[in-house]
């Protein structure tokens, strides 16, 4: 039996590689806050990744701790922010979206955060009419 011509094996691998490059999302944001999200049972997947805005809430990571202490901070995309700035952030994110009515805000909040700051964020979200939110969490049970 003639031997298999293996000179095009790399091309096969390249095609799988291109598939991965197109399908997956690389983490664009450098996390400046550390968080452990809670675990729940009634989870829903985030459809339409392109229509999702992320808000991270938690204590700053090691390198920022010296500058900002250990209080809970909000991170929007890649910078720290205060609750009032969230409104502009949401408006900005919305203009970048193709389908503006489907905007979902994913809240990645550390478990031990106090509700005060989360409620402030939610009030600002209400005022910005970003009513679809998703509390990011892992699955348990």
């Amino acid at each position: 039996m003639p031997e298999l011509n293996t000179s095009s094996l790399p091309d096969l691998i390249f095609s799988i590689l291109f598939f991965f490059m197109i399908v997956v999302t690389m983490r664009e944001v450098e996390l400046k806050v550390r968080f452990t999200i809670p675990a729940g049972t009634e989870l829903e997947k985030l459809e339409k990744k392109s229509a999702v805005s992320y808000i991270y809430v938690g204590p700053p990571t090691q390198q920022y701790r010296s500058a900002l202490g250990t209080g809970t901070r909000i991170q929007l995309n890649d910078r720290f922010a205060e609750p009032a700035e969230v409104m502009d952030f949401i408006a900005e994110e919305r203009t970048k979206m193709y389908d503006q009515t489907a905007q979902v805000v994913s809240l990645k909040v550390d478990q031990n955060t106090q509700m005060g700051i989360v409620t402030d964020i939610k009030q600002v979200l209400r005022k910005s009419w970003a009513l679809k939110i998703n509390y990011s969490s892992t699955k348990r049970n």
Binding site: T6, S7, L9, P10, I13, F14, I16, L17, F20, M21, V23, V24, T25, M26, R27, I37, P38, G40, T41, E42, L43, E44, K45, L46, E47, K49, V52, V104, S106, L107, V109, D110, Q111, N112, T113, Q114, M115, G116, V118, T119, K122, L125, R126, K127, W129, A130, L131, K132, I133, N134, Y135, S136, S137, T138, K139
Partner: protein
């Protein structure tokens, strides 16, 4: 030096596959394909003015008060409960099977695909937290309440349509949602510090 033309051997291309394997493994390791999951919620629209945020008059029997203080204790309907009991209490409240006068009022409602039903359409589950309450406790409370609604909807779906809620088409799902609408209201957290 006069040398004859030397034949330079061609590059051995048998290891280009290895290079592409390395790139592939790099991408597999550094990226994530799993979609983000979480508890999906819908916020109420913003109040037109500050007054609207105040509570509308509802009968006491129609409201289930769930309060969480900064220590993480949960009080439901006036008594302290454990998180595991919250789901049952919420289900019992929303369903009001025996039309008890202590639980929400039931009214007739015409729902397409389900016919004339008796539903607790005026019920409200009110969640109140303290500013110092831990997010995890709040999240677990929300999780249990959503679980209560999901279980009630599944039970109804199995009884009426013979399939679980997720397997239904949009029309049927809308009918079940109209039978058991999610009415969870969240009040402005107070700063009590202790028990509320």
């Amino acid at each position: 030096m006069a040398k004859g033309k030397r034949k330079v051997p061609g590059i051995n291309a048998s290891s280009t596959a290895d290079i592409s394997f390395i790139l592939l493994i790099f991408f597999l390791v550094t990226t994530s394909m799993d979609s983000d999951k979480g508890l999906a919620r819908r916020l109420p629209p913003p109040p037109e003015d500050e007054q609207q945020d105040a509570e509308i008059d509802v009968k006491e029997r129609n409201v289930l008060q769930v309060m969480v203080n900064s220590a993480g204790n949960i009080m439901c309907g006036g008594e302290f409960i454990d998180i595991t009991q919250l789901c049952e209490k919420a289900k019992e409240f929303v369903k009001n099977e025996n039309n008890s006068p202590l639980l929400p009022e039931k009214h007739n409602k015409e729902i397409p695909l389900l016919g004339n039903c008796v539903v607790t359409d005026k019920h409200v589950i009110s969640v109140q937290t303290d500013r110092g309450t831990s997010y995890n406790v709040y999240y677990q409370v929300q999780n249990e309440l959503v679980r209560a609604y999901n279980e009630l909807r599944n039970e109804l779906s199995l009884a009426k349509f013979g399939r679980v809620y997720d397997m239904l088409d949009d029309e049927h799902q809308a009918a079940i949602r109209e039978y058991y609408p999610q009415k969870i209201s969240e009040a402005e957290p107070k700063n009590y510090g202790g028990n509320k």
